[in-house]
């Protein structure tokens, strides 16, 4: 019996020939990532457990991105960043990307890709559930809590249960009115928010390999919304090109054997799919956009590790071009690199940034911003009974701020079309 790509990477990390789903294995970690919300408690546990002489197992492999609660007056939130800063100084952590410096990056999952930490064949653990995003690079990436992270920080090792794998194949050519966000929302509606719990989600098919690295990250990013341990896409030439622009680190390409075992396989013909939304209050509350078209909105939001990448703004800009948004529309480039690209990339000779500004969008600073609500003064936060359409990944009650608010999740195309009308709009009306 063959092995899946996930099993092969885990076997390598455990120093074994073969692993099987259900087995608990101890494995070596290649990269550990943390941020301002979970970094301070992780460091606290690490110091408590390893004592005064606590040592970081490998400084090169430990990365810290402050990104969650950054541009706020909240003193507790600012204290968290202060703790990270002090820690990075005391332990001389080179891979610390401090706020207020040239090095500041923004949202960790995109930053990992941009800074060359995502390399095929690697094992990445992060104190954030969307760490699964990095699986777009043909590597094993998953989220853990602070205790597990503290354990890794001191030992470079952790236990994990080898997951069963699910395979999602997208055949055909993606029509211009669909994006990776529609594909993953389609899956979520099919398998629900616990359909992949403790499982690997492998994405395959020509429509997947046609996607840019940015779009592939949208697919793997939301594996966790189905409960998935990891999402994964085999590395190809696009992956290698992206990685080589950023790092010379050696990579190893794994792929699933033909006779690998899957718990379930799903196949889609992308030409038959429609633009999708997830209605309040769950990412699996799927509907087609046409069915909710006309729903009045009070806010639109384009941002986060799911929907704040350059590709997302490239989708949104042509629709917004020359129009005016009818409701407050918040644009948050996930990383500072994306923010710079918004000034450089153009559509019909005008920079994307100008297109959004001219349409009346508000552009925020790179960070997680209102994707997870955050302190009261967070940019774009849902207030009172706001009805929001957003390119983010979660719409649980209160996720974007107010508990009374209602959030629809959709592709950047759908959000852009909705923004210029003030109500939910099918992007096909503009494409």
């Amino acid at each position: 019996m063959g092995m899946t790509i996930t099993e092969k990477i885990l076997a390598k990390a455990a120093g074994r020939e073969k692993v099987s789903p259900g087995e608990n294995i101890w494995m070596n970690v290649d990269v550990l990532m943390t941020h301002d919300v979970c970094g301070p408690p992780t460091i606290g546990i690490w110091k408590r457990e390893f004592g005064e002489s606590a040592k970081i197992w490998d400084k090169e492999k430990f990365v810290i991105f402050p990104d969650h609660y950054i541009f706020t007056q909240n003193s507790h939130a600012n204290r968290n960043v202060e703790i990270l800063r002090e820690f990075a100084k005391e332990y001389q952590i080179d891979n610390y990307y401090d706020v207020g410096t040239e090095r500041y990056k923004g949202v960790c999952h995109l930053a990992l890709a941009e800074e060359g930490y995502n390399v095929p064949g690697r094992v990445l653990f992060g104190t954030d559930s969307h760490t699964c995003t990095s699986g777009a690079f043909g590597m094993f990436a998953t989220g853990v809590g602070n205790t597990d992270a503290a354990f890794i920080l001191g030992t470079g090792r952790i236990w994990e249960k080898v997951p069963e794998s699910l395979k999602f194949t997208f055949n055909g050519t993606l029509p211009p009115y669909l994006t990776a966000k529609d594909l993953i929302l389609q899956i979520l509606g099919d398998i629900t928010t616990d359909g992949a719990t403790y499982r690997a989600m492998e994405f395959d098919g020509e429509a997947v390999f046609d996607l840019s690295m940015n779009e592939r990250m949208t697919l793997t990013n939301m594996a966790i919304e189905a409960g998935g341990m990891n999402g994964i896409i085999k590395a190809d030439q696009k992956t290698i090109d992206y990685v080589r622009e950023r790092t010379q680190s050696p990579y190893e390409i794994f792929e699933s054997d033909n006779d690998a075992e899957y718990l379930n396989k799903y196949e889609y013909d992308v030409s038959k799919l429609e633009p999708i939304v997830a209605k309040p209050h769950s990412p699996d509350n799927r509907d087609i956009v046409r069915n909710v078209a006309g729903t009045k909105l009070t806010k639109c939001y384009i941002g986060s590790c799911t929907g704040g990448k350059l590709s997302d703004f490239q989708f949104a800009a042509p629709i917004i071009f020359g129009a005016e948004v009818k409701v407050p529309t918040f644009v948050v480039p996930a990383s500072t690199e994306v923010a710079k690209q918004l000034e450089i990339e153009t559509y019909k000779g005008i920079s994307l940034k100008e297109i959004f500004e001219n349409a009346g969008c508000m552009i925020g600073q790179s960070s997680c911003a209102a994707c997870l609500g955050g302190p009261d003064d967070t940019f774009g936060r849902a207030q009172d009974k706001d009805i929001v359409i957003s390119t983010t990944n979660r719409n649980f009650p209160g996720r974007m701020g107010s508990k009374q608010s209602e959030v629809y999740l959709a592709s950047p195309l759908t959000v852009a079309a909705s923004a210029i009308n003030g109500f939910i709009t099918d992007p096909r009306d503009y494409i």
Binding site: P41, D128, N146, T155
Partner: protein, 186 residues
Amino acid sequence: MESRITGKAYVLGNNIDTDQIIPAEHLVYSLSDEEESKKYGHFALSSVPVNEAGLPNGGIPFIEGENWQAEYRIIIGGSNFGCGSSREHAPFALQKAGVKAIVAESYARIFYRNSVDGGFLIPYESTQKLNNVIKTGDEVEIDLENNSITNLTDGKEYQLKELGEVLPIVEAGGVFNYARASGMIS
């Protein structure tokens, strides 16, 4: 590890995500400062929609007024308990509020790991749906040796799934104690 956990049950529905367990805006407090960390107990389960808070009827706040501890020791949940963000603040907040164990049909992976590896509370899986037969406020007892839960108000007993491979970590009180006991770290 004690062999029995007894106390009042607080009953919840499916898909209780970590934002409902501890809303994101409260993640800024220190977890190690004794006084400040009480806030986690105070805000535990504060974002559960009112009609789902304390089933079957809802409308029962988990924490009363300004308290930071609940009168409940055991949470009865449905499926996919603890889904959403990876915050370890979630099992911590429940532990702080006085919860010793959860009995749910299934768990999200990260919440489950956090509960076990951090030694915060015991995440038991039930073998049947329990949130429609146990009511908020019922006095219940978990028997850890026989993997069962009894509703003391009506005497009915239900089987729980064995903890299996994570049992030694639960017994040790978390992954660090476990690793120390097995000589993996000093």
